[in-house]
Chain length 328, copies 2
């Protein structure tokens, strides 16, 4: 193995922590350090060997870091950070505000082109692996419908919503794909399904001691936008049960393309993920695409890229000869 | 839409017929003609508008065909045809003799480099889509095991084997993934599984009138290599039932990567296909990758490529802007 790919991480939340683990699990990358807005002295890292820096020090690492993983949030961090750091490094981010991706791409592309870096944007599983499967499934099956199901997954937005209900001490909400809807899609019947047809919602609620459970349940089930259109279940549990059974961040889902070829032959293309840890998986995808950012840049390419633009061999630690011999 | 991509087909068996349907279903390709070793006068095509030529006439179509789909078999056709036609055209083939892929690649690469064409080899689902999922799953999940299950599928080799048994008039064999094995893999326990642990075999046999069914069943179940190590079921049916229920060529399967990240978090990555028609799906994959052959060559690239080398956007009829806006 030649020199390892030198990787830095900006942001040390769940995604940044997952990226540290992801880099450690590889044999071809090394972690140069973690950069945070917090004072490095106060940043608690799991592993003492991890070097901690203030984000303002990142610019001093030009030439010492091959790829910077941007592990901030899509709402406010990444719209600033991606253009800023794409001027200094190759970058990988997980920008996931679907509606604003075209403008985000343009800003990243301008910054990366100007400085001759690669900025791979919107890396993860949705946007990410789900997106490439939507594209591949439909490219192959010209006559088809594609369905995306999310879950079983903890939804942050919906969990926040149930916690705001009067009498709720704590709680979580899972989005669960409807088995019935999945079976319809897998049968190749290409049904019309709304988001609420495709998903059920299950809430685990810790009530305040004096709370009226019926009132809580009713208020959740009739909440506009969040629950009213869905098949919703509400379960009441204790604080201990919440901590014991609901402290992980599982997620996953399915992308299914139901197509037809020739004379009425059904062809079902399906991709799915079942994840114990959503942030750890997302950051593992980012780590794999850091290889692509490094290699594409070495080839002399620059600009913003998405997963659509990147061939599978670029993300594998194996050589092309190994891939053809052992994986084809 | 600019000019359509002009596609030719060499070989008019099940794969070639599927390719005709696949091209018809697109909006950005046109079929120039079908080339066969048979006398074109005797070649029966479903649709009279399809132009038929002898394969020796193919060389007259240089400059008139952008991509030639090579729809012959892997045993004898493709080892000759891919190098021969890669000298004249961009090509796509479905070469599937796994063990000989490295040497096949080399021959295709030399021919395609010399003539500045693109030859995309081993296109289909396995080798093909299953291969890229094995690579992507393991690239993302550094600590993982990958499992490939085939079926439910009609196996040509095993069907031939049961038909050679004394007293068997006709019959088919399906390879069926073991539900128990799939569930173990999906649980993330990364079990050790042999090919026979992963698959069951089910035979539908039409016996000769006078045949001893017990003897047939016993001979099949104890057949070395083919059945003895497997959980095998033998069902006896009539000729009418065989024709009615077993005349399609369904296939499919699963690629599952079971990985672990962080502290014992299981992450399951799964890709699956459920196909009514194996040859029609394989040829649909070839048609999609014809776009990639055309576009890569337009960019000035040449040589042999596999699916590992090709970014998803190259096989989609959509523009990169459309993909980012609608599919990411």
């Amino acid at each position: 193995m030649i020199d390892k790919i030198k990787v830095g991480i900006i942001g040390y939340g769940n995604l940044g922590k997952g990226a540290v683990e992801g880099i450690k699990a590889t044999e071809d990358m090394e972690l140069v350090g973690v950069f945070s807005r917090r004072d490095p002295k106060n940043l608690v890292v799991e592993d003492e060997s991890i070097k901690k820096f203030h984000v303002d020090e990142a610019k001093d690492f030009v030439g010492k870091i091959d790829v910077m993983l941007l592990c901030g949030g899509s709402a406010t961090d990444l719209p600033e950070q991606t253009p800023e750091f794409a001027r200094l490094f190759n970058t990988v981010d997980s920008y996931d505000t679907h509606a604003k991706i075209p403008e985000f791409y343009q800003a990243a592309n301008e910054a990366a082109k100007a400085s001759e870096h690669i900025a791979i944007i919107s890396v993860g599983w949705d946007p990410g692996l789900f997106s490439i499967n939507r594209v591949i499934g439909e490219a192959i099956l010209s006559k088809s419908e594609t369905y995306t199901f999310w879950g079983k997954g903890l939804s942050q937005g919906h969990s926040d919503a149930v916690r705001r209900v009067n009498g709720v001490k704590d709680g979580v909400q899972y989005t669960i794909p409807s088995d019935e809807a999945i079976e319809k899609v897998r049968s190749g019947s290409n049904p019309e399904l709304s988001t609420s047809d495709k998903h059920n919602r299950v809430c685990y609620i810790v009530p305040e001691d004096s709370a009226d459970k019926n009132k809580i349940e009713n208020e959740i089930k009739t909440m506009p936008n969040y629950f009213v259109d869905y098949n919703t279940e509400v379960h009441f549990i204790t604080e201990e049960e919440l901590k014991r059974d609901h402290s992980k961040a599982p997620h996953g889902g399915f992308v299914i393309t139901g197509g037809e070829t020739g004379e009425n032959n059904k062809q079902i293309y399906e991709f799915s993920l079942n994840l114990d840890s959503n942030p750890e998986f997302t950051s593992s995808v980012m780590v794999a695409y850091a290889r692509a950012a490094y290699r594409l840049n070495k080839e002399g390419q620059s600009g913003a890229k998405t997963l659509f633009d990147i061939a599978p061999s670029y993300i594998s630690p194996k050589t092309n000869e190994e891939l053809r011999r052992d994986y084809l």
